[in-house]
Symmetry: C2
Amino acid sequence: CKIASLPGDGIGAEIVPEAIKALQAVGRKYGHEFVFTEALIGGAALDAVGVPLPEETLRLCRESDAVLLGAIGGPKWDNLPVHLRPEAGSLLPLRKELGLYANLRPVVLYDALIDASTLKKEVIQGTDILVIRELTGGLYFGEKKREQTPTGQIAVDTLVYTTEEITRIARLAFETARKRKKKLCSVDKANVLESSRLWRETVTELAREYPDVELTHMYVDNCAMQLVRWPKQFDVIVTENTFGDILTDQASMISGSLGMLASASIGGKVALYEPSHGSAPDIAGQKKANPIATILSAALMLRYSFNLEKEAQDIEKAIVRVLDKGYRTADIMQEGGILVNTEEMGDRI
Amino acid sequence: CKIASLPGDGIGAEIVPEAIKALQAVGRKYGHEFVFTEALIGGAALDAVGVPLPEETLRLCRESDAVLLGAIGGPKWDNLPVHLRPEAGSLLPLRKELGLYANLRPVVLYDALIDASTLKKEVIQGTDILVIRELTGGLYFGEKKREQTPTGQIAVDTLVYTTEEITRIARLAFETARKRKKKLCSVDKANVLESSRLWRETVTELAREYPDVELTHMYVDNCAMQLVRWPKQFDVIVTENTFGDILTDQASMISGSLGMLASASIGGKVALYEPSHGSAPDIAGQKKANPIATILSAALMLRYSFNLEKEAQDIEKAIVRVLDKGYRTADIMQEGGILVNTEEMGDRI
Ligand SMILES: CC(C)[C@H](C(=O)O)[C@@H](O)C(=O)O
Ligand SMILES: CC(C)[C@H](C(=O)O)[C@@H](O)C(=O)O
C-alpha cells in the first residue's frame, strides 16, 4: 500500500511519525507492506517552494492509495491574503481536488478518559457519535470578494449548496446510519438560510428511500447546545461544512480532548486521514502533542481505505490498553496518570 | 415607561406575563409606572393577519421605550418559504428595522444551579461571560437565492460585512470589556473566510484605541471547544451573527439551561429584550417553561433602557433567592428541588 505522508506544520512533524510507527507495527504483525512517501504541504511548502500546495504533492497524493496528513497553518502565515494562507491554500484545494466530500469524525469516549472530560460522567458515558461533515461545499468554497467602498471595505463569502451535493452526503449518512443505530440527525439553520432549506428538503426527500432510518432535523444552535446537554441522544449527525467544523471541535470535549479526535475524508479515489485538531503552534517542537488522534486516523485508514478491519481494531485496542495503564499526554493528564511525551505515547501504543 | 409586549409563539404567551409581573412588582416598590401594550408577531401574527410582522406592531415598537419579546416560530410554519417564516419574516426584520446591531448575552452561573449543569463544578464555577453577537449583518441578511438547475436546484446565502459594521460592534465590545475584566476575545474563521479576515483586521486596528483592553483572536471552531473546556478563560466575546447564534446557545449549558439565558438587543433608539431560547413548541401550553430567561431580560431592560440599576439588581437578587430556596422549573430540576410551573416560578420571584 502506497501512503502519502504530509506532516505539514506545527506539531504535524511530531505526530505523523507516531501514526507511521503504528501502521508499520501492524504491517510487521500481519505481513502488509506500507510504503510511505513524504511531501511538503501548508506553511512548510510555502516557505520551501513558494506555494502551499505544490503540484508535486498533489500528484503524489493522486498516485497514492491513501494520504496521512498532520496539521496545517500557524501564526507565521496569518497575515497573508486568504488564498495564499496555508489552510485555505492547501488543505481546502487538496480536499476539493481529491473529491473528498465527506469528513467522518467519530466522537468516542474511552472509559479511561471519562474523568478527563469537563462534562459529567453520567452525561458522556456510552457516547458514540459519528459526525459526517460535508467537506467540499458551503462557505469554504463559495465565491469570496473584498472591495473598497467610499468609507472602508466590504468583504463577502458565499454559501452555496446544490441538490446533488446534499444528496451525495445525505446518502452516505443514511447508509452509515443504517449500519449503526439507524438514527440520523440532520443539522441546519433552515429558519434563516435558504441553503439550509434546500438541505432540509433534499434530506427529507431522500429519507423516503430509508424508511428504516429514523431521521430528525435540528437547528445548528440547538445542536450545539444538545451536544453539551445530552450527547447520548445522537447516533449519526450529518451537516454542512462550516457547521460541521464547529460542532465536531466542540464535540471533541466529550472525548476529553481534541487530541483524541480522528477524521477520515472520503468520497474520492484516494482518501485522506488527519487528526481533527490543528497545528497547535503554541506547543510545536516541545514533544507535548497527543499523537492519538493521528494514530486513530491511521486506524480509520486501515478500515476504510484498505479494508483491514482486524488491523484497525488492533490499533484501537492498543490505545485502550495504553490509556488503561495510565499513560497520558499533557492534554489528557489526570491525577494518578503517567505523563509521557509524544514519542513515548506512540511507542507504548 | 412605555413597553411593547410581544409574546409571539409557543411558550411566549406563558413566559412574557411572568416578566411583566416582575416589572410591575418593581414598579410598585419604586413608584415607576410601566405601561404595557401587547401586539402580534411571528406565527401568531401570520395566522391572525397574514404577515409575520404587521406594520402596526413595528409602529408600536418604534413608539415604545423598550420591547419585551417572548419567542417566535414553530413547526406549524416550517414549510413556508424562508421570507414568510415567522423567524426570518418577523424577528430578523424587527432587529434590522430597529437598528439593533448588538445582541448582549450574559452567561452567568447561579450557585444554586451548579449541579444542574452537565459540566463539572470546577470547570464552570465563577464563569461570568458576556457574549456580544453582531445582529444585523452576516448570513442572516445577505442576499439569498434559489434557482433551478438542469439537474436539481442551487441555493445561495451571502455573508457580508463592512468595515463600518465591524467597527461599530467591536467598539461596543471594547467599551464593554473596559468596564469589566478588560479582556476581549474576538471570534472568527479568518483562516478560511474573507469576511472574517476583514473582521480580524478591523478589530485589530481598533484595538489601538484600547491599549488597556487585552485583545485575543480565536477561530470559531476552537472557541466552541474552549467554551466546554475552560469557560473561565473568557470575559467578553465578540463575534459575527451566525457564530454568535451557535456559541451562545452552546454556552447556555454553563448556566444549566437555555432557560436561564437572557438577551438584550441594543444599538437603536429602542432596545429589545428577549430570552435566548426559542418557542419550544414541544412544551408550549403546558406551563412547564422556565420564565427566568425572560425575567432576566426584563432586568436587562431596567438596566440598559431605563438606567434603573438598583431595580435590575432587585430582580436578579430575587431570582437568586428563589433558586437558593430550591424552586425549579423542569429544565433545571435537580434532586431535592421543588418542582414548580411557569406561573409559580414567576410568582415566587
Ligand atoms: C484548518 C481549517 C481550514 C480546517 C477546517 O476548518 O476545515 C480545520 O479547522 C478542520 O476542521 O479540518
Ligand atoms: C429564531 C432565530 C432566527 C434566532 C436567530 O438565529 O437569531 C434565534 O435562534 C436567536 O438566537 O435569537
